[in-house]
């Protein structure tokens, strides 16, 4: 009977584990991102598909190279799906007709600088995809702000034209050029126009919700992104704390200013349905590694991002501020983590044992 027992080894309780693993979590997030990604790839056509493929492949190759240099076990880490997810998020924030090397540089920054220079999986202080996005926006302002209209896979450039656009930089921009909603608002407000005059020229609400607007590759499908995020909430991969506090703060601030000066500030609805707010709220700000762990900390962190997004969009020099907002709050995460801790069982918030009052419910102490 004892013949079946394995040789003695150390085993510690618990002797069973959840079915959730790191690769499984990463792949679930990717699956939740897929509908919005497919919509983006369809809307922007072949060049977007090529750019997406190149960015993902580059991210994975950079990951393998970094693991090899660091001497980490390739078999375990190369399959954890984290590099794939980082590359995926980088690709989603790129302009769809950007040349292939923008994708490669973005993936390189995310994986090498954003992740592995800090020590690899779980060690990075900043969200790798946002590090890449921020560096690309500053270093390549032209390529990173060249938007095109979403003409659809069938009406847009064919396979060969797509190859030429992505890999040879050949593009007749005049045909397709379009401005993203936020950059249009920014430039026209800057020129002194009132919101009432700008609004008719912008994409309608339905287009903004369904992704029929110019923008980065994966940020336009607002509804699909929110649905994907809610799936993650339902699967308990993320909690609602960050998305709710982020979107809530952004809506509250923009509503306040919009009510005070409707001509100078866009409506909260426009803020929520343009740019990459939805992508950020559900998929970027909720990144495990770079966000606080406690529920209260998450609320503070999400509210901070929401407020910074509004501030940068309204008064900054960039039309979109998601990347900078996320990076700034990433830097605050250790601080939040230090001061916002859950209350320990049987202790007050300050760490002293609870007073012994029999017959008192815990109502006030929760």
């Amino acid at each position: 009977m004892t013949a079946h027992l394995p040789p003695p080894r150390i085993a510690a309780a618990p002797h069973t584990r959840t079915v959730f693993t790191v690769p499984r979590t990463m792949l679930t997030v990717i699956a939740a991102l897929t509908p919005a990604t497919l919509l983006g790839l369809y809307q922007f056509g072949w060049p977007a598909i090529f750019l997406f493929a190149v960015t993902l492949a580059a991210a994975w190759l950079f990951e393998i190279a970094c693991l090899w240099v660091a001497g980490k076990p390739l078999a375990m880490f190369a399959r954890d799906g984290s590099a794939l997810l980082s590359g995926w998020l980088v690709a989603m924030t790129l302009p769809p007709y950007a040349p292939w090397w923008v994708g490669v540089i973005g993936a390189g920054i995310a994986i090498v600088i954003g992740k592995h220079l800090f020590g690899g999986l779980g060690q990075n202080l900043f969200n790798p995809a946002m590090v890449a996005r921020a560096m690309l926006v500053i270093a390549l302002p032209v390529q990173m702000t060249t938007w095109v209209a979403p003409v659809g896979l069938l009406q847009g450039p064919d396979l060969w034209q797509g190859l030429a656009i992505t890999f040879a930089g050949a593009i007749d921009y005049d045909v397709l050029a379009s401005a993203s909603t936020l950059s249009a608002v920014k430039s026209q407000l800057g020129a002194g126009a009132a919101m009432a005059d700008i609004a008719p020229g912008l994409a309608g609400l339905q287009d903004r919700l369904l992704g029929h607007v110019a923008g980065s590759l994966g940020e336009t499908g607002t509804v699909l992104l929110a649905l994907g995020g809610l799936v993650l909430v339902a699967l308990r991969i993320i909690t609602l704390a960050i998305p709710l506090s982020l979107l809530g703060t952004l809506s509250a601030l923009s509503a306040l200013f919009w009510l005070i000066a409707p001509d100078r500030y866009p409506s909260p609805l426009l803020h929520l349905t343009s740019g990459s707010v939805m992508l950020c709220a559900f998929f970027i700000a909720t990144d495990y590694v770079t966000s606080p762990v406690s529920a209260a900390g998450k609320m503070i962190y999400g509210a901070g991002i929401g407020a910074l997004v509004f501030v940068i969009r309204s008064w900054g020099s960039f039309p979109e501020g998601v990347a900078f907002a996320v990076l700034l709050m990433n830097a605050c995460t250790p601080l939040i983590e230090t001061y916002v801790r859950p209350r320990v069982f049987g202790r007050t918030r300050s760490g002293k044992p609870l007073p012994l009052v029999s017959g008192t419910g815990p109502g006030g102490r929760r």
């Binding site: 004892t2 002797h15 584990r17 375990m76 590694v289 209350r343």
Partner: protein, 521 residues
């Protein structure tokens, strides 16, 4: 308070929810419908003299002695200990050491009995009429019967009962939560022996002088709930059943008290300080047997389960039965077992040697297949926060682990290492399979070792200082003695020299007591 009362309106059962906790697959279906079967007495029983928290019992028999079933063979030593009785009749073939049913595999004093097959009762304990018995008599009976907490920690029941003298108690809470996966022994006991169990609860309540008994049962045991709901009173004490959510670790005493009464026990305090005493339901049954029938604790129900057990079952076994015999009784191990555990999968102890005996605190024997244990290599922490969400104590396990890994044990203590109850929820929930609880146990052990070493060093320093002082005093005394003697000699010489005036000589010797005698500690 307002919020709380609104919340209780919505929850008619008045059960308070817990933070954290996990929901592992319970797999109780393997054994929950299997009636308890009596296992025949095995040919050889090994009864350890330490089956409880506290001091080792003192053996009362020697090799070749004949013992009868229920005979006292080990007497409790000191205040924190428990009596040990012979589980069957037979011959003592060894009083020595044997491997403990513990992962350490260390030897523990053990009495080995070869059963004679007759299973002949010796003298029973004197029976009591709990209706008229004095609380102290009941406590003494429980102590005589060697009853310990049957939930796993094996805390001597009588010692806990004596907390009645220290704290004003109002509630006896019987723990039938059985939140550990696989285990169904308490469930079966509640279903099959509800009446006896309620009687035992009543006896304990009378001994404690409490006004109410609450039996807390997780919602996944509807039959047990129904069986116990038939009883409203136990020996004149009001009894109620509280249905608590099926959530691990609901069976942790402090968390159960919070869930049932809404009172949160302060850190480092006992639940008795809140007026609530918590016992396992099995303990109440054992009390019933001891008080009504004078039977000491010599058997218990255990769940034998797991994917690698051929015929999972609930078995009533004698204390001291080798684990391998119990497994063989249940059809043996089928397929490959990843590990064999005593207790549940969340907090159970893996054992290497299957010849170790079942003891009073053993509630289950599990042989788990790799599909159930899911052994995996651990990956780096991705700060997903699963552990924080899972922790029922409000700790941040990933942070504790990081501090322990970097050797900062004081930092870990500062953020609550000592408030960890080692329930394993964090390690269960961790997607990176980081052995969190193992790390915490290591740190706790290390801190205890440091503490004892510090204590030793202080003690050594104190002794050394005392010794130096003593030696100095002795030297001083010697010197004083020498000086005095010298003076005496000189005086005598002088007296001899001055001849005729010999009267002065004795006066030179001082009459004061020797200084050395006084300074000797």
């Amino acid at each position: 308070m307002t919020l709380r009362s609104l919340a209780t309106l919505l929850r008619p059962s008045q059960v308070f929810t817990l933070r954290g906790g996990v929901h592992p697959e319970t797999r109780k279906h393997l054994t929950c419908d299997a009636e308890v079967v009596d296992m025949p007495v095995p040919p050889l029983l090994r009864v350890p003299l330490q089956q409880h928290s506290g001091a080792v019992a003192e053996p009362l028999v020697a090799r070749d002695d004949l013992v009868l079933k229920g005979q006292l063979i080990g007497r409790a030593r000191g205040a924190m200990s428990a009596n040990i009785h012979a589980p069957t009749s037979g011959r003592v073939i060894a009083v020595g050491h044997y491997t403990a049913p513990h992962p350490s595999g260390l030897p523990v004093p053990t009495i080995t009995i070869r059963a004679d097959g007759e299973d002949r009762w010796g003298e029973h304990l004197p029976r009591l009429r709990p209706e008229i018995a004095d609380p102290d008599e009941i406590a003494a009976q429980i102590e005589r019967a060697g009853i310990v907490g049957l939930g796993g920690a094996a805390f001597p029941a009588a010692v806990k009962l004596n907390q009645r003298k220290k704290y004003p108690l109002d509630t006896l809470l019987l723990n039938g939560a059985e939140c550990e996966p696989y285990l169904t022994c308490d469930d079966r006991l509640m279903r099959e022996n509800a009446e006896e169990l309620v009687d035992g609860a009543g006896i304990m309540a009378r001994a404690l002088g409490v006004e109410r008994i609450i039996i807390a049962i997780e919602s996944n045991k509807p039959e047990a709930i129904a069986a116990l709901r038939r009883h409203r009173m136990a020996l004149g004490v009001a009894l109620s059943v509280a249905v608590v959510p099926s959530q691990y670790p609901m069976g942790s005493a402090k968390h159960l008290v919070l869930a049932v009464t809404g009172k949160e026990a302060p850190a480092r305090a006992r639940t008795a300080e809140l007026g609530v005493l918590v016992y396992n339901v099995g303990t109440a049954h054992a009390v019933h047997l001891a008080v009504r029938y004078g039977e000491p604790l010599i058997s218990r129900i255990i769940t034998v389960s797991g994917g690698a057990i051929a015929r999972p079952a609930n078995v009533r076994v004698r204390i001291g039965t080798p684990v391998s015999d119990v497994i063989a009784f249940c059809g043996g191990i089928e397929g490959s077992a990843d590990r064999v555990l005593l207790g549940g999968p969340m907090m159970g102890l893996p054992i290497q040697n299957l010849r170790v005996p079942v003891v009073k605190g053993t509630c289950g024997i599990l042989a788990l297949s790799p599909a159930e244990t899911r052994p995996r290599d651990s990956m780096p922490c991705i700060r997903c926060g699963s552990c924080v969400q899972a922790c029922p104590c409000g700790l941040t396990p990933f942070d504790l682990n990081a501090r322990i890994q970097s050797g900062d044990l004081e930092g870990a203590v500062k953020i609550g290492l000592m408030d960890c109850i080692a329930c394993g929820s964090c390690a269960y929930a961790c997607p990176s399979s980081i052995p969190l609880v193992q790390g915490f146990d290591f740190a706790k052990g290390k801190l205890a070792e440091r503490q004892s070493r510090k204590h030793q060093a202080e003690e050594a320093k104190r002794l050394a200082a005392a010794r130096l002082a003593r030696e100095a005093a002795i030297a001083e005394a010697k010197r004083a003695m020498m000086a005095r003697r010298k003076a005496e000699m000189a005086a005598r010489k002088q007296a001899e020299a001055s001849d005729g005036a010999g009267l002065a000589a004795p006066a030179a010797a001082p009459r004061s007591p020797a200084p050395g005698a006084e300074l000797q500690p």
